[in-house]
Assembly symmetry: C6
Homo-oligomer: 255 residues x 6
């Protein structure tokens, strides 16, 4: 096992305007990145755009695993950014894995969650499409079941290991109650994850400002601190790198 020296971990360009600049190339390839944010902080849009740009700019297949919103809702919600998901589904570029809850009639909840079965469904979708990029949005509901931190950690590691084996680059969203304070509910996810990106929707007086920060990339360089971003109707997330310099890059839709 000889490694080419002086090489940081490889990156997969996302195609999200501005992000690849602050990410010094994109997301760590073949690994899972945790994307943390409050309600409405654009976790779903950012993740979906990672898939959409993969299809549009790099012709890379996509799998979207939804744990919260219904598949129909996601299609509808993302239409406003010009992403014709049904067309991509028809073209075999985009697959959904529906892990969204089917509300139980009797108010009870399913006792045990079959993570093994879920991973098998994801793998099937990844091979079928075939997919280079995967999104899991969001694991909050699943993690809520694990009172025991050791179990939570084990499940997180299982998911990350399985996705690494599939060779895909993954975005996984996580929920946060407040912009300040601990990053995650349990304080475990951010340590187990190889990479962490924070989306913030900051209250400044009575205005809001959205920022994006790469908190941690194991084995890779990235720009530090928060960068403002906007959600533009018709196109989606646009991160504003502070420096005017632009890296050469395959993404055609960068400003």
């Amino acid at each position: 096992m000889t490694l080419p020296l002086l090489t940081e971990v490889e990156k997969l360009p996302t195609g999200i305007p501005g992000f690849d600049l602050i990410a010094h190339g994109g997301l760590p390839a073949g690994r899972t990145t945790l994307i943390v944010g409050t309600a409405g902080s654009a976790k779903t849009i950012f993740s979906a755009q990672f898939l959409a740009a993969g299809i549009q700019s790099f012709d890379q297949g996509a799998v979207f695993v939804t744990f919260e919103e219904s598949v129909a809702d996601i299609r509808r919600n993302l239409a406003g950014f010009g992403w014709d998901i049904p067309a991509w589904e028809a073209a075999g570029k985009w697959s959904f894995v529906d892990a969204s809850p089917y509300p139980l009639e009797d108010g009870d909840v399913v006792g045990s969650y079959d993570l093994g079965g879920l991973l098998a469904r994801i793998e099937h979708a990844v091979r079928q499409t075939p997919a280079t990029r995967v999104v899991l949005d969001s694991l909050g509901a699943v993690f809520m079941r694990f009172a025991d931190p050791a179990t939570l950690r084990n499940e997180l590691l299982r998911i990350a290991a399985a996705l690494k084996d599939m060779g895909v680059t993954t975005l996984m969203t996580a929920e946060r109650s407040e912009e300040e304070g601990p990053l995650t509910r349990t304080g475990i996810e951010e340590f187990v994850a190889d990479n962490v990106v924070i989306l913030r929707n900051l209250r400044e007086g009575e205005r809001r400002r959205r920022t994006c920060e790469i908190l941690k990339y194991r084995g890779a360089y990235h720009q530090k601190g928060e960068f403002p971003f906007a959600i533009l109707p018709g196109s989606g997330v646009q991160v504003i790198p502070l420096s005017a310099m632009e890296l050469r890059q395959g993404s055609s839709d960068l400003r």
Copy 2:
């Protein structure tokens, strides 16, 4: 399933003066919006005005589901805004579903809550009226029963799914103890809900200022940040959009 592209989620104009401007058209149509606020922050008035304006400006039927105040109290409390609810009830424009507690003599509380029965009663009222707009005020008392976050989430999803099936646009109120800090008691509702509006009654020195903020609209554009509003005797909530520009709009009572 082909969707017209570049189209954000449809909106239902509320007719609440100023709100449709900041909401870029109104509430997401056919969906549920969570409206969060402290005691006395105008959650009930805002919700009722959504129904009243529907009747007055758009001739759309209304269903008000009350979990806290008695039906008689709601009629009485809203009379001061010129809303003749009894007349609307008589005209088949407005129906109440009374889910308010009947204080038990012996101090005990009912063990299990029959959400299925409640949804059936709501559906009956919606079809009977027939109603385009529904208010649920407030689920706080019901949610208090669910110690387990997974159960709470499931119940929330059941309610939202059932209302979506009825084709109505819904406002659902939620209680918050302080203006700062976590949005909801459990930190779950705001993630499960498609849309979140925050009403604030801010203490500035020893004065109070009311503001309204759209925190999250899944799949739709809206103005960001807080906008001041007033409760005017005889007319109700009046949101002040910061920009002087006014969108053309069907609401006749806007300033």
Copy 3:
């Protein structure tokens, strides 16, 4: 049930100097108002003055239900404001309902609290006197027994419903540990109550300032924010409305 339109909820002038100005007439008639404050914030004096002014200025009978202080202590403590409670008792204008604890010898506490019996005693006193105004001071000790929020809510609603049936206007005091932060211990009372008044004893540097705020009046207009007040020996609470304008009003003792 036809209601005269454009009419807010009726008010009962309290006769507390200054308060009826900020309250736009007084307390919501026939309803219960929760009065929240820290130790020594004047909850008892304010409540008692509501009764005393009722007798002195409007010849309205009064019932004082005490859960904490002994009847003898209340008589004694209020004498300093010129309120001759024993005389009013003799004249059938003022009745006490003694729900104060009888300290148990053996250190145990009574297992279940008989709210039904208490309400019967209150009703008896109200009819006997007869009373227009009722004070419950304070329910903190009773509420302490209810670990379960659903039970607490049910008991609160039972009390409010029973008092509404008696046709009286009621003040109910509640305790708060700090001037900042959550309004009540459980975060439930302020949502269940129709009306909430906050008394504060604010620390400014090493001085104290007392203020009174109407936080919430369901169905009724009131002035917003905090108004300073003083406790004057010989006369009691005097609220200072910021505006110099004075509403005409039956209260003879208003400056």
Copy 4:
């Protein structure tokens, strides 16, 4: 039971220099006052001085009930203020009731606390001396046993009622962990007590400043806010009233 009107609750001059000025006469006579402070805030010195001044200036007998320090330690610790407690004990002016813990050899603690027995011992000491003034220092250790707030409240009321029956004026100390935040550990004592005095040892930068505040006197006037005080070797607590005016007063040692 006819009361002289316009009279606030009677006061017992303490003889503590400066305190009777801010207290508008002294401590409420025949009642219990809670004195709250952090470790080292002078609760014990203040309380003991109340007894010492009673003997020195008013020839009133004293009972000191100790729950924490040993009797020998108290005698020793207070000698530095010129109070010859052994002489007063010999002269029948001062009695100790020793409720301090006898450390158990085996590390176990006594299961139930016999409050009835303690009250009997206090009553015996009060009658024997005979005493006008009583100190209980401090109940913290006793209260620690009562997990249940209803039990704590009941015990507090029992003690206060028993002391009122004995006709004595009492100071009872309570412990507080921080200068800011809730007044007491449980948030109950300050509501149950008729009167509350706060001693503070404030950190200002890296200096300390001691202040004394009367937070609450039921039925009685007092000055509001915090007044600086010093502990002077050889004489004890000296409160500095902000106003230079001095009330005439029997206390000879006032400045």
Copy 5:
């Protein structure tokens, strides 16, 4: 039992440079002083210096009871201050009582802690040496076992009483997680202890400043507030009294 009047509690000069000035003579003789500080705040050095200075300046024997660090480590760690502990041990001036944990192979912990046995070992060492000064460093690990505050209090009192019986002057260290906030984990130790000294390692911007404060000395005068100190290689703790005045004093190594 007649006490010389106007005399505060006796002090034992520590010989720690500067400390005896702010302590108005030293530590309360024959009593236990609690010394509280965060990790690395110099609790162990301060305590050991109290013993070393006793030997060097006053020829008083020393006993060091260690609950955390091994005896070998303590000898080694303190060598850098020029204290030749092995030589003092050989000369019968310094004895260790090793109560440091012997890490258990199987990961279990001993169920009950034999405080009686420990006190016997301490007493033996005190008599043998013979010792005037004793250090207990630190009881944190032992106290961690006592979930019940009443037990903790009882054990603390047992230790203090036993040490008082031996006639020694004792320093006992306690751990604190943060420089701000509650003084101790349980909020009990600082009330039970007769004397409390706080060592702080304050973060000012990105610098650190060490200060020493005497919070409480029962029955004795001391300077108030925080005084800066340094840890000097070769000599140890040096407290800087703010005032330049120096009390005459037996300690030869004072500046």
Copy 6:
């Protein structure tokens, strides 16, 4: 056991640029140092660089015990700093002990953790290599299992004692949720550890700044406060000592 006097605890130069200056020589030799930081604060890079510099500058063997990341990931992540770990492994300079979790298929976690077995594996690797430097990264996952603080403390002491017996100098990483507040989750590790270093990734406005602080070195001098550091691609951690003075030192790669 005679010790050379006036000698502080020996240091092992780390070779981490700048660190040995603020550390006054390096890490305490033959002991364990706890290195605490938030997610992404460079704990792993700092620790690995301690090993890499040992090989490169001092020809000292290294053992890296990983509890979180896989061995393959660590090799890959550190390649970007020019550290050819596989070559060092081949040359018998660097050994891994893989204690990283093997995600369990069935979602369960192993009941008891075999610390004895782990220590045996570490010892084997240390003797085999042979190693002077050891890293344990990170114990967070292991410590999470110990609900009982006494057990956690015992395990920590066992590890430190075993490593001291092996004669190695050790870095052990620990996780922290926030830059402010308590140092560790339990508040125990920082007291048990002989030495504590804090790595911070501070948010200043919307920028980040990395600093390194030696909080505690038992028995040794070090510079106080926080020193900025950078992570340089191709070389790793570079601490910036504030003073320009440079100690002579064997590390060739210092600026």
